[in-house]
């Protein structure tokens, strides 16, 4: 696909003769801003003269669509910037758009995308192709509400996107946490598993009452990663290095215990016939099993998903969140990124700064139900209290407990290898030594 894409882009380049150079004043603006030479007032003035911002985001959430037009658009209008929200299906389509435009010679001020809602792989692609505006995040006035200390758990979430350093080239906008919920009429308080070992004991006593989404769906991948974290002697820390820092043997040592565990519990999962479970393919299939009380527990991304789904009747009223797995609940953030060929760079900066403000974050939390992108502990006591007030409720656990058990995502470069290993070891039950399988997977992903 990449080859095809490059070939096509090349054709486009050859056929296009009108390749314009990037205006020098735009470059000067970017350099001055990134060097911290430009006062924020100049950025606001430039944004007002640009007049508009083209924001591309996944448009599948009605509440987000409404909030952007009802709240964000009028607020930005006061700053002299017209919000042009563009709803998309897949973020990778916009990445293709930016890429193709850049290859056709469209530089800063000449593209069509000012800001994208991204994380993980799409950010990685933009960074690899050198399509980012630059390290703007810490330069925004509202950066003060974010923890930029690389050595704290909260700070590293702002600086590492799936293990890949953001270097401030994207601004945290929202956060997510992988949370498991249980149906209390099927699982009593005392039986609640808090570790994968406890889950296995519970499954042995109650086979068929739990399952997870089938990898390579990201909801399944995350469950697998958490199991790997707990079973590995090195914990989550072992999974933060890039693929090329491993030998097949060292990676096999890291993955073996977790894979063995997942293979062991497979016959105990829901919808298992002759020891082979039929894994749900996506979130709605997972939810269907849980709604129909076929499973007693489900796991997915969504810090507030129990509150929203209880309120909309998609979950039984006695559903509660649990702390699972202890100290290994994967949390990540999603971001706003500015491409290197943004048509309105100053307006894009004003837009991301607005989105990072305490007011916008609070309004998003209350109106859309998306977790905070900023870090609560960086706010004043009064703002903290107001934020907590706006948060959707938790059931059976506290926000503090959820916060104290977080773990980072697996490094993006390891994800492919883990997916392919899960396929052969857990799904196909391969008996080949794990080191051989890892070696094969590593050579394929290079």
């Amino acid at each position: 696909m990449n080859l095809l894409r490059n070939a096509l882009v090349l054709t486009g380049l050859l056929s296009g003769s009108l390749i314009a150079a990037t205006p020098t004043d735009q470059i000067a603006f970017r350099t001055a801003f990134l060097d911290g030479q430009l006062p924020w007032e100049s950025v606001s003035t430039a944004a007002r003269s640009e007049g508009a911002i083209d924001f591309y985001y996944w448009g599948g959430d009605d509440r987000l669509n409404v909030w952007l037009e009802r709240t964000v658009a009028p607020d930005l209008e006061k700053l002299g910037v017209t919000l042009r929200p563009h709803r998309i299906t897949a973020t990778s389509d916009v990445v293709d758009l930016v890429l193709t435009e850049a290859r056709a010679g469209k530089g800063l001020g000449q593209g069509s995308v000012d800001a994208i809602w991204v994380n993980g792989e799409n950010f990685y692609t933009l960074a690899q192709q050198d399509l980012l505006f630059g390290s703007f995040a810490q330069k925004l006035p509202n950066a003060t509400w974010f923890d930029w200390d690389e050595n704290s758990a909260g700070g590293s979430l702002n600086l590492y996107d799936f293990g890949y350093p953001t270097q401030g080239r994207e601004m945290p906008w929202s956060g997510e946490q992988y949370v498991c919920a249980v149906n209390r009429s099927l699982m009593a308080e005392a039986e609640t598993p808090h570790t994968f070992a406890e889950l296995e004991r519970w499954l042995e006593a109650n086979p068929g009452t739990f399952t997870y989404v089938k990898p390579p769906h990201y909801l399944g991948n995350t469950f697998v990663q958490e199991a790997l974290y707990e079973m590995s002697p090195e914990g989550a820390q072992g999974f933060q290095q890039p693929l090329d820092s491993f030998t097949p043997e060292s990676l096999a040592r890291l993955l073996a215990p977790g894979m063995a565990y997942l293979k062991r519990i497979a016959p105990l999962l829901a919808q298992a016939r002759n020891g082979i479970p039929r894994y749900p393919e996506n979130e709605s299939a997972l939810m269907q099993l849980f709604q129909n009380s076929q499973t007693a527990m489900e796991c997915q991304f969504g810090l507030y998903h129990v509150a929203t789904k209880r309120a909309s009747g998609q979950m039984p009223d006695n559903t509660e969140e649990i702390i699972f797995p202890r100290h290994n609940m994967i949390k990540n953030k999603n971001y706003l990124v500015i491409p290197s060929n943004a048509p309105h760079p100053a307006a894009a900066l004003v837009f991301t700064n607005y989105m990072s403000s305490v007011a916008a974050q609070k309004s998003k939390l209350a109106a859309v139900g998306y977790p905070l992108g900023l870090d609560l502990w960086m706010l004043s006591a009064a703002d903290q209290a107001a934020m907590v007030e706006a948060m959707p409720p938790h059931f059976g656990v506290t926000q503090a407990a959820l916060d104290s058990h977080i773990a980072p995502d697996t490094h993006a470069s390891l994800v492919r290898v883990i997916e392919s290993l899960w396929q052969s070891v857990v799904l196909q039950g391969s008996e080949t030594p794990i080191a051989t399988l890892v070696e094969q997977a590593m050579s394929q992903s290079k």
Partner: protein, 286 residues
């Protein structure tokens, strides 16, 4: 007796067809009015109208019909683009088809199969190539760009239909008119066009429906700025869930196709009748 049972069978097949074709639409209609609807309930447990007053944001049809859904802009864009594409395709294909059916034309079948090539190339490849070519030309992100790009996947359909229409046009009928003293213009207006018209309408129906369903080309060539019903619908149901608003948008997106079908149905019936007349003249001629 035999006739009755034949009619009975036809009725059964007809009813069966309606169930197969219209059946899937019924749950979509119910879903568009539902708030909570889960297996194994036959009907929604909670309907939209019983909760709409308490909601802080527009639900179901309140959302679909609100300006937030963008559905009317998208419908207008879709209609404008597909009508322009169809008109252009017709203008391009009518003379081409006329030439292709002429008996003196040698490489007819080869050229006709070349015309189907765009249908084999993946839409993604077409879309990215178009974008790469259109950016330097200043056509990316414009209606013109989208319309030109739509022409490529649409032309094969129009071409095929028009070629077969011309092939069905009996030259004897035109000759008869000529013998009876009709001028060139009279022959065109009173004989050729009326005979071709139903086929032209069928071709237009095809291209309208194909053009109004193209997603990737519209999105990439339009740089995501031109919203049409497919781009709107894809962004909504891309996550895999069909909720009330997705169901409502789906129903709205079906309206143009439905109207077109009703509007052209009569003419296509005419087409069959005219075809029969043409054949009977042909028979008597021999």
């Amino acid at each position: 007796m035999k006739g009755v049972s034949h009619n009975g069978k036809a009725l059964l097949v007809g009813v069966g067809l309606y169930i197969v074709i219209l059946g899937p639409i019924i749950p979509v209609i119910i879903q568009s009015f539902a708030f909570q609807w889960h297996w194994p309930d036959l009907l929604p447990r909670v309907w939209w109208w019983s909760v709409r007053a308490d909601s802080t944001f527009p639900l179901a049809w309140d959302y679909v019909l609100s300006p937030y859904s963008h559905v009317f802009e998208a419908a207008g864009n879709t209609l404008f683009i597909s009508l322009s594409v169809t008109l252009l395709a017709l203008i391009l294909c009518l003379p081409a088809a006329r030439v292709l059916v002429s008996p003196h034309f040698k490489w007819k079948t080869q050229i006709l199969s070349l015309f189907t090539l765009p249908l084999i190339v993946p839409e993604m490849a077409l879309a990215l190539a178009f974008l790469a070519v259109f950016i330097p030309l200043g056509l990316a992100g414009t209606y013109t760009g989208i319309i030109v790009a739509h022409l490529i996947p649409v032309l094969p359909y129009m071409m095929r239909v028009l070629v077969s229409v011309y092939q069905g046009l009996n030259p004897a009928v035109v000759e008869q008119a000529q013998l009876l003293g009709a001028s060139r213009w009279q022959r065109l207006v009173h004989i050729t066009i009326p005979l071709l018209l139903p086929g032209i309408l069928a071709g237009c129906l095809f291209t309208l429906l194909v053009s109004s369903n193209i997603f990737l080309i519209t999105f990439l060539v339009g740089q995501g700025r031109v919203e049409t019903l497919p781009t709107l619908l894809f962004s909504k149901i891309g996550g895999g869930a069909l909720d009330a608003t997705a169901a409502g948008l789906t129903l709205i997106a079906m309206i143009p196709g439905f109207i077109l079908l009703l509007a052209t149905e009569r003419h296509i019936r005419d087409y069959q009748r005219v075809g029969a007349v043409g054949r009977s003249i042909d028979g008597s001629h021999r």
